[in-house]
Amino acid sequence: MTGNEAIAEGAVQAGCVFYAGYPITPQNELTAYMAKRMAEVGRIFIQSESELAAINMVLGVSAAGGRVMTSSSSPGISLKQEGISYLAGCQLPCVIVNIMRGGPGLGNIAPSQSDYFQATKGGGHGDYHSIVLAPSSVQEAFDLMFSAFELADRYRNPVIILGDGMLGQMMEPIYCTRKKRTTQNAQRTTQKKWALTGCKARSPNIIRSLFLAEGKLEEINKILQKKYKKIQVQEQSWEGLFLEDAHTVFVAYGTMARIARGLMYGLRKKGMKVGLIRPISLWPFPLKAFCNLPGVRRYIVLEMSYGQMLEDVRLAVERKKSVEFFGRAGGGIPKEEEILKKFFKKKVEL
């Protein structure tokens, strides 16, 4: 299965009842898979007239209580920012998949990690955060869909799955059982008391992000900030490898983490004490991963961008450790040799 298809299948099994999307490479397999699979399970698929329409259909379904998803790639995600800001403001759960490609502008269709800032720092207008999860294998892409829908519902907040063109297109075998959970998860929506269902036997529900009364919007923002704080405390996730003895630690996510992992194992075979921190939640950024690592002398941040996650790593280590960086963007996937050449003076041949 490709990463795109695994994400789609994961969403179906996690109970996604509605999907709207607009074609854009390199995530088209996801939309095509949903077109076929949603019909099979009797759910709703719409090819929308634009990314804007898709995200606003998502808003409608979410307001009506359904588990809902849209997907796109970088330029399309930029178009969706209006809706994401409204979803955050209205406190509506949903899942948004970004299979990143090279930018800025129309860029190209090669893998990239240049939308990290947009995904983790808000993206649209206003003080808000989406929860951002970054899978680095096809299996993990499938598995994270369950967490994504759960987190979205638990916090009434948009969740972004941040993958890249490599992950989307790559084929790997995965465990993916079509269990009963597919239908169970789809029925969970009845528990949402705030949802718009028609005001039978209750007072009317209103979904909105507009608060004109003096002081009211500030009050709402404080509620949002309290929620974000809670998410930051409870939902950091990462994978740490060889951190007990590592002197040098690579920090990388998604596709870049696969390259870092290969490098790490190669260097360890040569007897070098190298480890890896792979953030899985990009927001909240896993600050806890950087705590209590007295043996680490240097962090090497690797990204397919010109240094976006780098800023969060610097904040995490508070200038107490050396933080170095290597990145390429615009569709270039770094090779192990060029990374070695930059950071390891002694010639190391893996």
């Binding site: 009842v17 509605f18 709207a20 709703i44 719409i46 929308s48 007239e49 634009s50 804007l52 329409a53 898709a54 606003n56 259909m57 998502v58 808003l59 409608g60 379904v61 979410s62 307001a63 009506a64 209580g65 359904g66 809902v68 209006e82 809706g83 409204y86 209205c90 718009l196 269902t197 028609g198 005001c199 039978k200 036997a201 009317p204 529900n205 209103i206 979904i207 909105r208 992000s209 507009l210 004109l212």
Partner: protein, 242 residues
Amino acid sequence: MKKIFSYPTSLNKLTTHYCAGCGHGIVHRLISEIVDELNIREKVIAIAPVGCAVIAYNYWNFDVCEAAHGRALAVATGIKRYRPDNIVFTYQGDGDLAAIGTSETIHAANRGENLTVVFINNAVYGMTGGQMAPTTLLGQKTATTPAGRDASLTGYPLKISELLAQLTAVKYIERVALDSPQGVLKTKSAIKQAFRNQVENIGFSLVEVLSPCPTYWQMSAKQSLDWIRDVMSREFPVGRIK
């Protein structure tokens, strides 16, 4: 004795924020009466627009969802597809429906979404201070056409209802005018038809209401009604379009 007229259950007893002589309050009330008469209050989900009616949810006593400017019909599509047993309607102005939301409007109509659309055409952006709308008449003075709308610079009044009538999936379009008590009654009957169509699963139905905006037309309430009858409805003829 039998009570034959009362305050609609679907309308909250509040003073609206609308200007004197504005049409929004009238249409809010008509919709409330219709929702009561069709006994669908507990099934209705409305989509409030961005524009003067942005806080319509304060006045209606049923479920309401906000939508970003122009996106009401995309939001409505999501809700109605997911909850086909609910009655979903959008309430949109000319800027919302025929400028920034033109794409959402045309495509929701073309998909034949089983929705009811109440389209308030007052030929001006009211909320933001009386700028030119797509439906502003030629020669009409607004904040952004101080010398009057000039076709060579800004084109012509957009007849979105006539455009939509070309689409196969569209089932019902009627233009009405709030220019007189008779006009108000006709407006009610057209909007009721548009709701009934949804209840009976007939499909996409839209009612365009020519509605007074005395403030930004810089007229009295009475002059506004006359202007709808004598000027505006020449450009936008009332009657069944489809």
